[in-house]
């Protein structure tokens, strides 16, 4: 895990941390209670946040059920990684874990369009649940996740059945 503060903890073989390093550490430490509060809400409200989105996608988007299920799974997965990244204050966490996976799954199951709708609905939903300051904590990793969703260049073959 490339924890953002790792670079600070790598320092002992060089020198003591200076004032600005320590201030980065103390900023992070003082933000932990708020981060934990947001994390707990995401954890406890996981279904409550996502169910209305699934309903809208199915009723208004007119998407078939398996597509909605697949997209909701993507959404839940992204939100879990976003939550962890926010807790660690490390948006590269989202990239490291989901790169090489999420974009390819989106492409393989062809859910890019519905995933984008889901993401817009998710943003609205999150703004109902969290204060603007709390949203700011989630924003960097949400943006990273969105970037991954849009960037679906690698291809996967959905089936090898009957190929040979």
């Amino acid at each position: 895990m490339a924890f953002k503060l790792d670079t600070l903890f790598d320092a002992p073989d060089k020198k003591y941390l200076n004032a600005s390093d320590l201030s980065i550490l103390s900023q992070y430490v003082s933000s932990i209670p708020e981060r934990m509060a947001v994390y707990r809400t995401l954890r406890d409200q996981e279904v409550a946040i996502m169910q209305p989105i699934a309903d809208v996608l199915q009723q208004q988007g007119g998407h078939p059920e398996p597509m909605v299920e697949r997209s909701v799974r993507n959404g839940l997965m992204v939100l879990r990684y976003v939550a962890m990244a926010m807790l660690l204050d490390d948006d590269s966490f989202v990239e490291e874990r989901l790169q090489g996976w999420l974009p390819e799954m989106i492409k393989a199951y062809d859910t890019q369009a519905i995933d984008q709708q889901l993401f817009q609905l998710l943003e609205k939903q999150l703004s109902k649940v969290f204060s603007p300051a709390q949203l700011n904590l989630l924003k960097p990793s949400l943006e990273k996740a969105q970037g991954l969703m849009l960037n679906t260049r690698e291809t996967v073959t959905p089936t090898l059945a009957g190929l040979f």
Binding site: L57, G100, E104, M105, A108, P158
Partner: protein
């Protein structure tokens, strides 16, 4: 209606099992590297790979390709079994019910995380019964001596046996481009042996991948 709670019955959302920072671990006090299940991993130094190529060449000459190919097949057989076992454990379902997209994406990620380069499947020729495989940044052919003939015999062996076991058809694998002879990546063609016979001659005559594939397509 889609019920989100039903999608989360056991609370798990399996995804990228082979994510690099999760998969590779160490039991450093014992001097061992391990994967996330506790199976041993081993880092092979480049000079050792070079030494294997040169030692084999010196002792067995032309047969070194055959030796490496057979090592690749041996490796592939074990790799396939372990790969399936790990995925079945992780997804908590038998391999047969795992979706092909998840399976193949896991293969690509697994390849990358082990440091074997980037593997891509090319299904351009699927209608004609061939599967293309590209391996970029292969550490194996990077250590092989420069040659006129492809030298990704280890990879040829592992791919042949992997896809043979996966599809249940006896497949043959031929390498059509190789970084050790100056190509951009290693390319392989998998298919039934009798349909690939002509490819071997074309490779031996030094034809490029594109030209080989074109001829193969025209043969029908």
């Amino acid at each position: 209606m889609v019920s989100v709670a039903d999608l989360l019955t056991d609370g798990r959302l399996p995804s990228n099992y082979f994510a690099q920072d999760l998969y590779v671990r160490g039991l450093t006090e014992m001097g061992l590297l391990e994967n996330r299940r506790g199976d041993r991993l081993l880092a092979i130094p480049d000079p050792l790979l070079q030494a294997i190529y040169s030692g084999l060449e010196k002792e067995t000459g032309q047969a070194s390709h055959m030796v490496l190919y057979n090592c690749g097949r041996w490796w592939g057989k074990n790799f396939y079994a372990r790969f399936c076992e790990e995925l079945a454990d992780y997804y908590k379902q038998p391999m047969a019910s795992l979706a092909m997209a998840e399976f193949l994406q896991s293969l690509q990620q697994c390849w990358k995380t082990h440091g074997w380069g980037q593997i891509h499947l090319d299904i351009t020729y699927r209608d004609r019964g061939f599967l293309g495989v590209e391996i970029w940044h292969s550490p194996f052919t990077a250590a092989a001596p420069q040659a006129q003939k492809p030298s990704g015999d280890l990879e040829r062996g592992i791919l042949e046996i992997f896809f043979t076991q996966l599809t249940g058809r006896e497949l043959s694998c031929i390498q059509t481009s190789c970084t050790a002879k100056g190509d951009d990546c290693n390319r392989f063609v998998l298919g039934l042996e009798k349909r690939l016979q002509s490819v071997e001659t074309m490779v031996a005559n030094g034809q490029a991948h594109q030209a080989i594939m074109q001829t193969l397509m025209q043969q029908g």
